[in-house]
Protein backbone atom coordinates (compact mmCIF):
# COMPACT_ATOMS: atom_id res chain seq x y z
CA UNK A 1 0.00 0.00 0.00
CA UNK A 2 2.74 2.41 -0.98
CA UNK A 3 1.41 5.93 -1.13
CA UNK A 4 3.52 7.47 -3.84
CA UNK A 5 1.46 9.94 -5.81
CA UNK A 6 3.82 10.43 -8.67
CA UNK A 7 2.59 9.37 -12.07
CA UNK A 8 -0.70 7.60 -12.58
CA UNK A 9 -0.93 5.32 -9.59
CA UNK A 10 -4.38 4.03 -8.90
CA UNK A 11 -5.52 2.50 -5.64
CA UNK A 12 -5.45 -0.93 -7.25
CA UNK A 13 -1.83 -0.83 -8.24
CA UNK A 14 -0.78 -1.94 -4.77
CA UNK A 15 -2.25 -5.34 -5.53
CA UNK A 16 -0.07 -5.87 -8.61
CA UNK A 17 2.04 -9.02 -8.48
CA UNK A 18 5.58 -8.06 -9.39
CA UNK A 19 8.18 -10.62 -10.30
CA UNK A 20 11.44 -10.41 -8.43
CA UNK A 21 13.11 -13.55 -9.73
CA UNK A 22 11.81 -15.30 -12.82
CA UNK A 23 11.48 -19.02 -12.09
CA UNK A 24 10.06 -21.85 -14.11
CA UNK A 25 9.24 -25.41 -13.06
CA UNK A 26 8.36 -27.84 -15.84
CA UNK A 27 6.70 -25.12 -17.80
CA UNK A 28 4.91 -23.69 -14.76
CA UNK A 29 5.53 -20.15 -13.65
CA UNK A 30 6.77 -20.25 -10.08
CA UNK A 31 8.48 -16.87 -10.11
CA UNK A 32 9.54 -15.37 -6.81
CA UNK A 33 7.31 -12.29 -6.56
CA UNK A 34 6.53 -9.52 -4.05
CA UNK A 35 3.81 -11.88 -2.76
CA UNK A 36 6.29 -14.75 -2.35
CA UNK A 37 8.69 -12.42 -0.57
CA UNK A 38 6.02 -11.49 1.98
CA UNK A 39 5.12 -15.14 2.54
CA UNK A 40 8.75 -16.11 3.07
CA UNK A 41 9.25 -13.13 5.39
CA UNK A 42 6.11 -14.06 7.34
CA UNK A 43 7.43 -17.60 7.65
CA UNK A 44 10.79 -16.30 8.86
CA UNK A 45 9.19 -13.89 11.33
CA UNK A 46 6.86 -16.50 12.80
CA UNK A 47 9.54 -19.17 13.12
CA UNK A 48 12.06 -16.69 14.47
CA UNK A 49 9.55 -15.30 16.96
CA UNK A 50 8.40 -18.70 18.21
CA UNK A 51 11.90 -20.12 18.55
CA UNK A 52 13.27 -16.93 20.12
CA UNK A 53 10.33 -16.66 22.52
CA UNK A 54 10.70 -20.27 23.63
CA UNK A 55 14.51 -20.34 23.73
CA UNK A 56 14.60 -20.41 27.54
CA UNK A 57 11.61 -22.74 27.97
CA UNK A 58 11.38 -21.22 31.42
CA UNK A 59 8.93 -22.38 34.03
CA UNK A 60 8.46 -18.73 34.95
CA UNK A 61 8.20 -17.24 31.47
CA UNK A 62 9.93 -14.15 30.19
CA UNK A 63 7.70 -11.50 28.68
CA UNK A 64 8.16 -12.68 25.11
CA UNK A 65 7.71 -16.32 26.13
CA UNK A 66 4.43 -15.50 27.81
CA UNK A 67 3.20 -13.83 24.60
CA UNK A 68 3.93 -17.03 22.65
CA UNK A 69 2.14 -18.99 25.38
CA UNK A 70 -0.83 -16.65 25.23
CA UNK A 71 -1.22 -17.23 21.46
CA UNK A 72 -0.82 -20.97 22.01
CA UNK A 73 -3.39 -21.12 24.79
CA UNK A 74 -5.73 -18.85 22.85
CA UNK A 75 -5.82 -21.12 19.81
CA UNK A 76 -5.77 -24.28 21.94
CA UNK A 77 -8.76 -22.91 23.86
CA UNK A 78 -10.54 -22.11 20.61
CA UNK A 79 -9.94 -25.63 19.28
CA UNK A 80 -11.05 -27.32 22.52
CA UNK A 81 -14.09 -25.09 22.85
CA UNK A 82 -15.28 -25.68 19.30
CA UNK A 83 -14.26 -29.27 18.62
CA UNK A 84 -13.59 -30.72 22.06
CA UNK A 85 -10.47 -32.47 23.38
CA UNK A 86 -10.44 -34.67 20.28
CA UNK A 87 -9.82 -31.57 18.20
CA UNK A 88 -6.34 -31.13 19.67
CA UNK A 89 -5.11 -33.46 16.91
CA UNK A 90 -5.73 -30.57 14.53
CA UNK A 91 -4.26 -27.93 16.81
CA UNK A 92 -0.87 -27.47 15.06
CA UNK A 93 -2.61 -27.09 11.74
CA UNK A 94 -5.21 -24.61 13.06
CA UNK A 95 -2.46 -22.70 14.83
CA UNK A 96 -0.45 -22.49 11.61
CA UNK A 97 -3.47 -21.17 9.72
CA UNK A 98 -4.15 -18.55 12.37
CA UNK A 99 -0.66 -17.23 12.82
CA UNK A 100 0.14 -17.29 9.10
CA UNK A 101 -2.96 -15.24 8.19
CA UNK A 102 -2.53 -12.94 11.19
CA UNK A 103 1.09 -12.14 10.36
CA UNK A 104 0.37 -11.74 6.64
CA UNK A 105 -2.53 -9.38 7.43
CA UNK A 106 -0.56 -7.22 9.85
CA UNK A 107 2.58 -7.36 7.75
CA UNK A 108 0.63 -6.13 4.74
CA UNK A 109 -0.37 -3.01 6.68
CA UNK A 110 3.18 -1.72 6.84
CA UNK A 111 3.44 0.93 4.11
CA UNK A 112 5.28 -0.43 1.10
CA UNK A 113 4.51 -4.04 1.97
CA UNK A 114 2.34 -6.25 -0.13
CA UNK A 115 -0.83 -7.72 1.38
CA UNK A 116 -0.74 -11.40 0.43
CA UNK A 117 -4.21 -12.06 1.85
CA UNK A 118 -5.71 -9.41 -0.43
CA UNK A 119 -5.53 -11.95 -3.24
CA UNK A 120 -8.51 -14.22 -3.65
CA UNK A 121 -6.40 -17.07 -4.98
CA UNK A 122 -4.42 -17.23 -1.73
CA UNK A 123 -7.41 -17.05 0.59
CA UNK A 124 -9.32 -19.44 -1.62
CA UNK A 125 -6.48 -21.95 -1.52
CA UNK A 126 -6.44 -21.77 2.27
CA UNK A 127 -10.22 -22.09 2.48
CA UNK A 128 -10.21 -24.97 0.00
CA UNK A 129 -7.58 -26.73 2.09
CA UNK A 130 -9.78 -26.30 5.18
CA UNK A 131 -12.82 -27.56 3.30
CA UNK A 132 -10.99 -30.57 1.87
CA UNK A 133 -9.48 -31.51 5.23
CA UNK A 134 -12.81 -31.11 7.04
CA UNK A 135 -14.69 -33.10 4.40
CA UNK A 136 -11.99 -35.77 4.38
CA UNK A 137 -12.07 -36.05 8.17
CA UNK A 138 -15.86 -36.22 8.08
CA UNK A 139 -15.99 -39.12 5.65
CA UNK A 140 -13.02 -40.86 7.25
CA UNK A 141 -14.62 -40.71 10.69
CA UNK A 142 -18.27 -41.31 9.81
CA UNK A 143 -18.11 -42.94 6.38
CA UNK A 144 -21.22 -42.40 4.30
CA UNK A 145 -22.96 -41.41 7.53
CA UNK A 146 -21.30 -38.02 7.17
CA UNK A 147 -23.99 -37.23 4.59
CA UNK A 148 -26.46 -37.11 7.49
CA UNK A 149 -24.95 -33.69 8.17
CA UNK A 150 -27.24 -32.42 5.41
CA UNK A 151 -30.35 -33.90 7.02
CA UNK A 152 -30.28 -32.55 10.57
CA UNK A 153 -32.06 -34.64 13.19
CA UNK A 154 -35.32 -33.21 14.52
CA UNK A 155 -36.37 -31.58 11.26
CA UNK A 156 -39.83 -32.71 10.14
CA UNK A 157 -39.80 -35.01 7.14
CA UNK A 158 -41.81 -32.70 4.90
CA UNK A 159 -39.15 -30.03 5.36
CA UNK A 160 -36.39 -32.34 4.18
CA UNK A 161 -36.78 -31.53 0.44
CA UNK A 162 -36.10 -27.91 1.34
CA UNK A 163 -33.54 -28.41 4.11
CA UNK A 164 -31.27 -30.84 2.33
CA UNK A 165 -30.59 -28.63 -0.72
CA UNK A 166 -30.06 -25.63 1.57
CA UNK A 167 -27.65 -27.53 3.79
CA UNK A 168 -25.85 -29.01 0.82
CA UNK A 169 -25.50 -25.65 -0.92
CA UNK A 170 -24.29 -23.93 2.24
CA UNK A 171 -21.76 -26.72 2.72
CA UNK A 172 -20.50 -26.57 -0.87
CA UNK A 173 -20.31 -22.79 -0.80
CA UNK A 174 -18.23 -22.76 2.38
CA UNK A 175 -14.81 -22.38 0.71
CA UNK A 176 -16.12 -19.39 -1.23
CA UNK A 177 -17.70 -17.55 1.70
CA UNK A 178 -14.73 -18.49 3.86
CA UNK A 179 -12.17 -17.11 1.40
CA UNK A 180 -14.06 -14.07 0.06
CA UNK A 181 -14.64 -12.77 3.61
CA UNK A 182 -10.92 -12.54 4.28
CA UNK A 183 -9.88 -11.38 0.82
CA UNK A 184 -12.60 -8.72 0.52
CA UNK A 185 -11.93 -7.26 3.96
CA UNK A 186 -8.22 -6.93 3.37
CA UNK A 187 -8.61 -5.63 -0.18
CA UNK A 188 -11.27 -3.11 0.78
CA UNK A 189 -9.24 -1.79 3.69
CA UNK A 190 -6.12 -1.39 1.62
CA UNK A 191 -8.02 0.24 -1.24
CA UNK A 192 -9.58 2.71 1.19
CA UNK A 193 -6.19 3.62 2.57
CA UNK A 194 -4.80 4.08 -0.91
CA UNK A 195 -7.73 6.27 -2.00
CA UNK A 196 -7.26 8.57 0.96
CA UNK A 197 -3.52 8.58 0.44
CA UNK A 198 -4.31 9.72 -3.10
CA UNK A 199 -6.34 12.65 -1.68
CA UNK A 200 -3.53 13.57 0.65
CA UNK A 201 -1.13 13.73 -2.28
CA UNK A 202 -3.38 15.56 -4.76
CA UNK A 203 -4.89 18.20 -2.47
CA UNK A 204 -3.13 21.47 -1.56
CA UNK A 205 -1.47 21.60 1.87
CA UNK A 206 -4.61 22.67 3.75
CA UNK A 207 -6.53 19.77 2.28
CA UNK A 208 -3.98 17.14 3.23
CA UNK A 209 -4.78 17.31 6.96
CA UNK A 210 -8.20 15.62 6.92
CA UNK A 211 -7.29 12.60 4.73
CA UNK A 212 -4.02 12.11 6.60
CA UNK A 213 -5.79 12.12 9.94
CA UNK A 214 -8.36 9.74 8.54
CA UNK A 215 -5.62 7.42 7.34
CA UNK A 216 -4.06 7.32 10.79
CA UNK A 217 -7.38 6.41 12.38
CA UNK A 218 -8.22 3.98 9.59
CA UNK A 219 -4.88 2.22 9.93
CA UNK A 220 -5.81 1.55 13.55
CA UNK A 221 -9.10 0.10 12.42
CA UNK A 222 -7.31 -1.98 9.79
CA UNK A 223 -5.09 -3.44 12.53
CA UNK A 224 -8.24 -4.59 14.25
CA UNK A 225 -9.57 -5.98 10.99
CA UNK A 226 -6.27 -7.78 10.38
CA UNK A 227 -6.65 -9.57 13.71
CA UNK A 228 -10.39 -10.04 13.45
CA UNK A 229 -10.27 -11.61 9.99
CA UNK A 230 -7.50 -14.01 11.03
CA UNK A 231 -9.62 -14.86 14.07
CA UNK A 232 -12.80 -15.37 12.04
CA UNK A 233 -11.02 -17.51 9.47
CA UNK A 234 -9.65 -19.69 12.29
CA UNK A 235 -12.95 -19.93 14.17
CA UNK A 236 -14.69 -21.00 10.97
CA UNK A 237 -11.98 -23.59 10.43
CA UNK A 238 -12.73 -24.93 13.92
CA UNK A 239 -16.47 -24.91 13.28
CA UNK A 240 -16.09 -26.82 10.01
CA UNK A 241 -13.80 -29.31 11.74
CA UNK A 242 -16.34 -29.67 14.51
CA UNK A 243 -18.98 -30.59 11.94
CA UNK A 244 -16.61 -33.19 10.56
CA UNK A 245 -15.53 -34.63 13.91
CA UNK A 246 -18.73 -34.44 15.96
CA UNK A 247 -21.39 -34.01 13.27
CA UNK A 248 -23.53 -31.55 15.13
CA UNK A 249 -24.23 -27.96 14.28
Amino acid sequence: MAAEGTGHHGPMEQFEIKKIIDLDLLGHDISFTNSSLMMVLAFAIIVGYMLYAMRGRALVPTRIQSTAEVVYEYIAGMVKENIGPEGMKFFPWVFTIFIFILVLNIFGLIPGNFAVTSHIIVTFALAAMVWLVATGVGFWKHGVGYLKLFAPAGVPLWLMPIIIPIELTSYLIRPISHSVRLFANIMAGHTMLEVFAGFAVLLPWWGKIAPTGFMVAFTGLELLVAFLQAFIFTVLTCIYLNDAVNMHH
Partner: protein, 185 residues
Protein backbone atom coordinates in the same frame (compact mmCIF):
# COMPACT_ATOMS: atom_id res chain seq x y z
CA UNK B 1 -16.84 19.17 1.68
CA UNK B 2 -17.72 19.88 -1.93
CA UNK B 3 -14.04 19.91 -2.86
CA UNK B 4 -13.57 16.63 -0.99
CA UNK B 5 -16.44 14.96 -2.80
CA UNK B 6 -15.16 16.20 -6.13
CA UNK B 7 -11.72 14.86 -5.27
CA UNK B 8 -13.21 11.51 -4.30
CA UNK B 9 -14.92 11.22 -7.67
CA UNK B 10 -11.79 12.33 -9.46
CA UNK B 11 -9.66 9.73 -7.69
CA UNK B 12 -12.27 7.03 -8.14
CA UNK B 13 -12.56 7.81 -11.82
CA UNK B 14 -8.80 7.73 -12.13
CA UNK B 15 -8.66 4.41 -10.30
CA UNK B 16 -11.32 2.96 -12.52
CA UNK B 17 -9.49 4.19 -15.59
CA UNK B 18 -6.26 2.73 -14.29
CA UNK B 19 -7.88 -0.64 -13.60
CA UNK B 20 -9.45 -0.68 -17.04
CA UNK B 21 -6.17 0.26 -18.68
CA UNK B 22 -4.18 -2.52 -16.91
CA UNK B 23 -6.83 -5.12 -17.63
CA UNK B 24 -8.89 -5.27 -14.48
CA UNK B 25 -8.12 -6.20 -10.91
CA UNK B 26 -4.67 -7.67 -10.32
CA UNK B 27 -6.46 -10.27 -8.15
CA UNK B 28 -8.27 -11.60 -11.19
CA UNK B 29 -5.23 -12.02 -13.38
CA UNK B 30 -4.87 -15.81 -13.68
CA UNK B 31 -1.29 -15.56 -14.91
CA UNK B 32 -0.14 -14.84 -11.37
CA UNK B 33 -2.05 -17.74 -9.77
CA UNK B 34 0.52 -20.47 -10.30
CA UNK B 35 3.36 -18.56 -8.71
CA UNK B 36 1.21 -17.46 -5.77
CA UNK B 37 -0.11 -20.96 -5.14
CA UNK B 38 3.34 -22.49 -5.42
CA UNK B 39 4.84 -20.16 -2.83
CA UNK B 40 1.78 -20.40 -0.62
CA UNK B 41 2.08 -24.19 -0.55
CA UNK B 42 5.82 -24.03 0.08
CA UNK B 43 5.67 -21.47 2.89
CA UNK B 44 2.54 -22.91 4.49
CA UNK B 45 3.90 -26.46 4.53
CA UNK B 46 7.27 -25.26 5.84
CA UNK B 47 5.54 -23.25 8.54
CA UNK B 48 3.25 -26.14 9.42
CA UNK B 49 6.24 -28.45 9.68
CA UNK B 50 8.25 -26.12 11.93
CA UNK B 51 5.23 -25.30 14.11
CA UNK B 52 4.01 -28.85 14.59
CA UNK B 53 7.42 -30.50 14.96
CA UNK B 54 9.47 -27.90 16.82
CA UNK B 55 7.80 -24.72 18.06
CA UNK B 56 4.43 -25.88 19.37
CA UNK B 57 5.71 -28.97 21.24
CA UNK B 58 8.11 -26.67 23.07
CA UNK B 59 5.32 -24.34 24.16
CA UNK B 60 3.11 -27.29 25.05
CA UNK B 61 5.85 -28.91 27.13
CA UNK B 62 6.50 -25.76 29.10
CA UNK B 63 2.82 -25.18 29.77
CA UNK B 64 2.29 -28.82 30.73
CA UNK B 65 5.32 -28.81 32.98
CA UNK B 66 4.13 -25.65 34.69
CA UNK B 67 0.67 -27.14 35.13
CA UNK B 68 2.16 -30.31 36.62
CA UNK B 69 4.43 -28.31 38.85
CA UNK B 70 1.61 -26.15 40.13
CA UNK B 71 -0.54 -29.23 40.65
CA UNK B 72 2.29 -30.96 42.51
CA UNK B 73 2.87 -27.92 44.68
CA UNK B 74 -0.82 -27.60 45.41
CA UNK B 75 -1.02 -31.29 46.27
CA UNK B 76 1.97 -30.97 48.56
CA UNK B 77 0.41 -27.93 50.20
CA UNK B 78 -2.86 -29.82 50.69
CA UNK B 79 -0.99 -32.77 52.17
CA UNK B 80 0.95 -30.53 54.55
CA UNK B 81 -2.27 -28.82 55.55
CA UNK B 82 -3.84 -32.20 56.34
CA UNK B 83 -0.83 -33.09 58.43
CA UNK B 84 -1.01 -29.80 60.26
CA UNK B 85 -4.71 -30.28 60.91
CA UNK B 86 -4.04 -33.76 62.23
CA UNK B 87 -1.23 -32.53 64.50
CA UNK B 88 -3.49 -29.77 65.76
CA UNK B 89 -6.28 -32.23 66.46
CA UNK B 90 -3.83 -34.52 68.29
CA UNK B 91 -2.56 -31.62 70.33
CA UNK B 92 -6.04 -30.54 71.24
CA UNK B 93 -6.99 -34.06 72.19
CA UNK B 94 -3.89 -34.35 74.38
CA UNK B 95 -4.74 -31.04 75.97
CA UNK B 96 -8.30 -32.11 76.66
CA UNK B 97 -7.08 -35.44 78.09
CA UNK B 98 -4.61 -33.65 80.33
CA UNK B 99 -7.33 -31.31 81.45
CA UNK B 100 -9.74 -34.09 82.31
CA UNK B 101 -6.91 -36.02 84.03
CA UNK B 102 -6.00 -32.99 86.07
CA UNK B 103 -9.57 -32.39 87.14
CA UNK B 104 -9.86 -36.09 88.02
CA UNK B 105 -6.78 -35.93 90.17
CA UNK B 106 -7.98 -32.73 91.81
CA UNK B 107 -11.36 -34.25 92.55
CA UNK B 108 -9.78 -37.39 93.98
CA UNK B 109 -7.42 -35.36 96.13
CA UNK B 110 -10.27 -33.23 97.32
CA UNK B 111 -12.29 -36.31 98.23
CA UNK B 112 -9.36 -37.97 100.02
CA UNK B 113 -8.65 -34.83 101.94
CA UNK B 114 -12.31 -34.40 102.85
CA UNK B 115 -12.49 -37.99 104.06
CA UNK B 116 -9.34 -37.57 106.10
CA UNK B 117 -10.59 -34.34 107.60
CA UNK B 118 -13.89 -35.94 108.39
CA UNK B 119 -12.16 -38.89 110.13
CA UNK B 120 -9.91 -36.55 112.10
CA UNK B 121 -12.86 -34.46 113.16
CA UNK B 122 -14.70 -37.58 114.22
CA UNK B 123 -11.73 -38.71 116.29
CA UNK B 124 -11.35 -35.33 117.91
CA UNK B 125 -15.09 -35.18 118.60
CA UNK B 126 -14.83 -38.57 120.26
CA UNK B 127 -11.91 -37.45 122.40
CA UNK B 128 -13.74 -34.29 123.32
CA UNK B 129 -16.85 -36.13 124.30
CA UNK B 130 -14.77 -38.59 126.41
CA UNK B 131 -13.09 -35.67 128.09
CA UNK B 132 -16.44 -33.98 128.57
CA UNK B 133 -17.81 -37.12 130.20
CA UNK B 134 -14.76 -37.32 132.52
CA UNK B 135 -15.12 -33.67 133.39
CA UNK B 136 -18.82 -34.14 134.11
CA UNK B 137 -18.02 -37.08 136.36
CA UNK B 138 -15.37 -35.08 138.13
CA UNK B 139 -17.60 -32.07 138.49
CA UNK B 140 -20.46 -34.04 139.92
CA UNK B 141 -18.03 -35.76 142.35
CA UNK B 142 -16.66 -32.42 143.42
CA UNK B 143 -20.17 -31.08 143.71
CA UNK B 144 -21.24 -33.99 145.90
CA UNK B 145 -18.13 -33.60 148.02
CA UNK B 146 -18.65 -29.88 148.27
CA UNK B 147 -22.30 -30.28 149.15
CA UNK B 148 -21.48 -32.79 151.88
CA UNK B 149 -18.86 -30.40 153.24
CA UNK B 150 -21.47 -27.65 153.36
CA UNK B 151 -23.42 -29.66 156.03
CA UNK B 152 -20.36 -29.91 158.29
CA UNK B 153 -19.55 -26.22 157.83
CA UNK B 154 -23.15 -25.25 158.52
CA UNK B 155 -23.15 -27.48 161.66
CA UNK B 156 -19.91 -25.96 162.91
CA UNK B 157 -21.13 -22.45 162.21
CA UNK B 158 -24.49 -23.15 163.82
CA UNK B 159 -22.79 -24.64 166.95
CA UNK B 160 -20.53 -21.61 167.17
CA UNK B 161 -23.50 -19.26 166.82
CA UNK B 162 -25.56 -21.17 169.39
CA UNK B 163 -22.67 -21.27 171.81
CA UNK B 164 -22.26 -17.55 171.54
CA UNK B 165 -25.97 -16.99 172.04
CA UNK B 166 -26.63 -19.32 175.00
CA UNK B 167 -23.12 -19.73 176.20
CA UNK B 168 -23.52 -23.48 176.20
CA UNK B 169 -21.95 -26.04 173.91
CA UNK B 170 -24.44 -28.05 171.92
CA UNK B 171 -23.50 -31.51 170.66
CA UNK B 172 -22.83 -31.64 166.95
CA UNK B 173 -25.38 -34.42 166.38
CA UNK B 174 -28.19 -32.25 167.69
CA UNK B 175 -27.27 -29.37 165.48
CA UNK B 176 -27.08 -31.67 162.53
CA UNK B 177 -30.48 -33.09 163.31
CA UNK B 178 -31.96 -29.60 163.45
CA UNK B 179 -30.23 -28.40 160.30
CA UNK B 180 -30.97 -31.55 158.24
CA UNK B 181 -34.03 -30.16 156.49
CA UNK B 182 -32.02 -27.07 155.45
CA UNK B 183 -28.92 -28.83 154.26
CA UNK B 184 -30.76 -31.63 152.62
CA UNK B 185 -28.41 -34.11 154.31
Amino acid sequence: MFAGTTMLFAVAAEAAGEAAKSGGLPQLNPHTFEAQLFWLVVTFLALFFVMSKIALPRVGEVIEERRDRIKRDLDAAARLKDETDKALADYEKALADARSNASGIAKQTRETLAAETEAERHRVDEQISVKLRDADTRISASKTKALSAIGDIATDTARAVVEKLIGQDVPADDVKKVLRPATGG
